[in-house]
Subunit: 439 residues, 2 copies
Amino acid sequence: MLFRGSFSLICNPESWSSCLLSPILLAPTLTAEIIAIGSELLAPDRTDTNSLWLTEKLNSIGIEVKLKTIVGDDDSRLEETIRDAVKRSRVVITTGGLGPTEDDITRKVAARALGRRLLLDEALLDGIRKRFQSFGLTMPERNSRQAMVIDGAEVLDNPNGTAPGLFIEHDDTSVALLPGPPREMRPMFENHVQPRLESKAGHLRVVRRVLRVAGMGESAVDERIAPIYTRYANPQTTILFNKSEIEVQLTARGRTEADAETLLDKVSSELEEELGHSIFAFRGEQMEEVVGLRLSVGGYTIAVAESCTGGLIAERLTDVAGSSRYFIEGVVAYSNESKTRTVGVEPVLLLEHGAVSAPVAEAMAEGIRKRAGTDFGLAVTGIAGPGGGTEEKPVGLVYIALASEVQTEHRKLMLPGDRQLIRWRASQAALDLLRRRLI
Amino acid sequence: MLFRGSFSLICNPESWSSCLLSPILLAPTLTAEIIAIGSELLAPDRTDTNSLWLTEKLNSIGIEVKLKTIVGDDDSRLEETIRDAVKRSRVVITTGGLGPTEDDITRKVAARALGRRLLLDEALLDGIRKRFQSFGLTMPERNSRQAMVIDGAEVLDNPNGTAPGLFIEHDDTSVALLPGPPREMRPMFENHVQPRLESKAGHLRVVRRVLRVAGMGESAVDERIAPIYTRYANPQTTILFNKSEIEVQLTARGRTEADAETLLDKVSSELEEELGHSIFAFRGEQMEEVVGLRLSVGGYTIAVAESCTGGLIAERLTDVAGSSRYFIEGVVAYSNESKTRTVGVEPVLLLEHGAVSAPVAEAMAEGIRKRAGTDFGLAVTGIAGPGGGTEEKPVGLVYIALASEVQTEHRKLMLPGDRQLIRWRASQAALDLLRRRLI
């Protein structure tokens, strides 16, 4: 099953490690299709993001996604889609349509497409009823339809919702019916579907690593690292520009995960030599996780004073579990009065320099540090727009400042983008200023 | 062409407005499928955005998108996809795969799927050759494949690239093969495809409206409103559960936009009668926009004291442009000291009741209101997890409180979900408490 495609004779099957750089040999074998179900997914403002996550997971175990379908709550189209997919591909995964309402047609239609009966599972019904009871609720009658099971299917437990998943080995094809909400779908896939598919997929492993870069432009990054990554076909490199972060994605294939990791280690250390501290994450971590870890390890505490970011920096820092160890206090000093009252900015500074200025940013950083008694004080003031800009101080002008016991420093930024993007970029730059100080 | 399905004799074709509430008459809109072609679109970090743009365009002329497919450069899967789509739908649009390389298989495979020959169009070949010459280049031999035309197809001019599009009336179905790059695809659709489809679709218009609900469960909402929406096939209703919001999407079809809006008005006012103030948005607005508007209109000001939400409420409120009119100050009082120091919570309350308690939530709301001198003070304290829970105060326990000049009130919540979800739900419940007070 493992090697269906072209076979390279240079490789000795007894010694796979010599073949690691041969992409032809390692081309993925099992083919998959993903079907996203729900009329709402056909709206002009909705994309199906489940399939992206699933594709990454499937690729990582050597399964290639060959086709994706998004289909509404439409019996006949869904039936045809499932029937075609099962004929063509060895793995078929559906997401959505397992809820308790009339619209939720996946169970019923999949049963028909596979030519199997739909049976009521009493134990499952009991479990769903108990789940409602644990929240002090009575199960609505309609939820009983979630206990209908396709004949021959295994029921996949859903600890995060009422909709159980189903897994069916149908002829030569594995069919998984998963719920639509990501926080239900993802653990179900990881705990129940992935292990089953892994044993089917054989031992080819695909490992992805995501490096994140802050403080550089996309072209600048590409110019500096292209001479490195173009020398390697394995791992494959993709550069992605996302808000103000640049992601460098490396995808390596190997006989084992360790083989793939070895390849990734080699290339990422070459990239690090070139980009240095601009790489803030080597395993896809968020900036706030990286900063939080450094604060934690150093035993430091932090307080934040924000104006234009409106709480975003505090929100990002406290989004990390365990952040109460280092995050002490945040102030969203939106009005001038609040900057004086709570952060201790002298009114004369506001009068002389304006709220969006380097002296005010520094005073905010020092003021919040003093108030909270922390090792660091981090501050942002700026104009996120769309209104409020002037010729002298246009939309996108942002000052960030960092105060510690020994020094206070600031940076002046001109950030492009709309309100949301300027706020996000300002928060990222402020956190990056702190990160570089902590190195 | 307009009315294919069942025809209701109650309607007088001279006076369409009398038929607006007859769903049977208006149900059979034209149905479309969109096929995005290209292996690169199956990567874990790529979404097909052409289909979103096309869906909006198609919807606006009364054509409903029933299915979307993303297929790689895979002859047999693409052929089957096109063949199925043409059988099922009256409009089929493909994007991509019209380039000059081996990978660009759309023309060849579409011809096979439609059972038509592929012919060399000498005039077209000449045009492509001239386009290259105009840039001072010689046409590479492989570009001649772009002059291959499916028998019976109209050639759609591409002023922005070398790949011409094709338009075929095949049996009862309009098939358009468009290039992948948006700057080539969009003008080609607008100039050549849309006019052809408009005459086929008649003058039917489709309008969507999104209602959002807070403070109720999905099943509860569905049970209460199903008796209403099931009476109407037009508008169609879809219910969506998203974080702690429930979206009710209504899609109406009418001869004019005004007709469709009339239908939407009728059904949404019936839904409002049933759900009352639990509906917080009738046009898809976010909670923070609704709250912001009410604060603005009333001339009220607000300050926020947050513990477990860590700045999320401030961040959401200030995400709205113009929020500086009503948002004065926010404090993220993460540590107990900060709750006392900055929000004025008496240490004895923290000692006696603990930080996560109703008295502390109320004291935080009153304290931040007093500090900032605002009309309202809004506060949250709770346990977002994953750590920090006890048997008495488990993860998910959250108190929200709202203080004004005349009264202070609180709510105790037990929120399910992970850290992110508990934080988001707590922020939503707090904003909803304020919204209901402002009604």
